[in-house]
């Protein structure tokens, strides 16, 4: 663990620099200087990419209609439509 103040940096290896640009109650603004080929991702984005890939598989077998009806029965009925009718 390292303690850094706004304006201070840290180095990872020879060519990655991470600078703490700004600290507010909303969070920290971080600047990253890294080689072009280095992928920099918010961790949440990686999680959501994986979850979307999982979700996209969808239902592949079994009785689709039966499964969906069971799920819809178990979900509270709040209309998603907001274009023509506002939600109650």
């Amino acid at each position: 663990m390292l303690r850094r103040r706004a304006g201070e940096s840290l180095l990872i290896g020879d060519d990655i620099e991470i600078e703490l640009l700004e600290l507010t109650s909303q969070g920290a603004k971080i600047g990253i200087r890294a080689p072009r080929e280095t992928v920099v991702l918010r961790k949440e984005l990686k999680i959501i990419r994986e979850q979307n890939t999982h979700a996209a598989r969808g239902l592949e077998s079994g009785d689709l209609g039966k499964t969906l009806k069971e799920f819809s029965r178990n979900s509270s009925r709040i209309s998603p439509r907001t274009d023509k009718h506002s939600e109650s």
Binding site: Q51, S75, S76, T82, E87
Partner: protein, 155 residues
């Protein structure tokens, strides 16, 4: 009326008002920028997000309030700007918020409440808004079929 080949329902006609633009796509599906939202009465409140360009891609979704009646949106300033929203939006009133479902045989069914699909219905623009906080899970467990509904009659 235009036609679309869907993953689950064969060929369907759709209205232009049912098409929503995702200018940035969705994470892992950045190239998919237009989806038809399909609602089928017998499966309500499920919504099917069918890609216009890829037949095999269709997300299942539920309104976030169907999953958690107390759900509160919390969009980053960047996401609000992309959707042309001023201030923090609430579900309803021109904002549609859907949780994508993971629903497979052999896996527990979950809803992604950490990154809801948020739609500005007026502009027909949508994005998947990843929350900055840790208030909600990307794998929120859904009640399994056959268990008595808990939230019936919420609205």
């Amino acid at each position: 009326m235009p036609l679309i080949e869907t993953k689950y329902f064969g060929t369907m006609s759709f209205e232009h008002e049912s098409v929503f633009d995702f200018p940035c796509g969705l994470p892992a599906f950045e190239e998919e920028k237009r989806f038809v939202f399909i609602e089928i009465a017998e499966y309500a409140p499920l919504v099917f997000l069918q890609s216009l360009t890829r037949q095999s891609l269709c997300f299942l979704a539920l309104p976030v309030l169907s999953v958690d009646p107390d759900y509160r949106l919390e969009l980053s300033s960047e996401d609000r700007a992309a959707l042309e929203l001023e201030g923090q939006p609430e579900c309803g009133g021109g904002i549609l918020a859907l949780a994508l479902l993971s629903l497979h045989d052999g896996f527990p069914a979950t809803a992604n409440l950490m990154a809801p699909v948020v739609v500005n219905v007026r502009t027909r623009r949508a994005l998947q808004a990843i929350r900055m906080d840790r208030r909600y899970s990307h794998q929120h467990p859904l009640r399994r079929p056959g268990i008595a509904p808990v939230c019936e009659g919420v609205c």
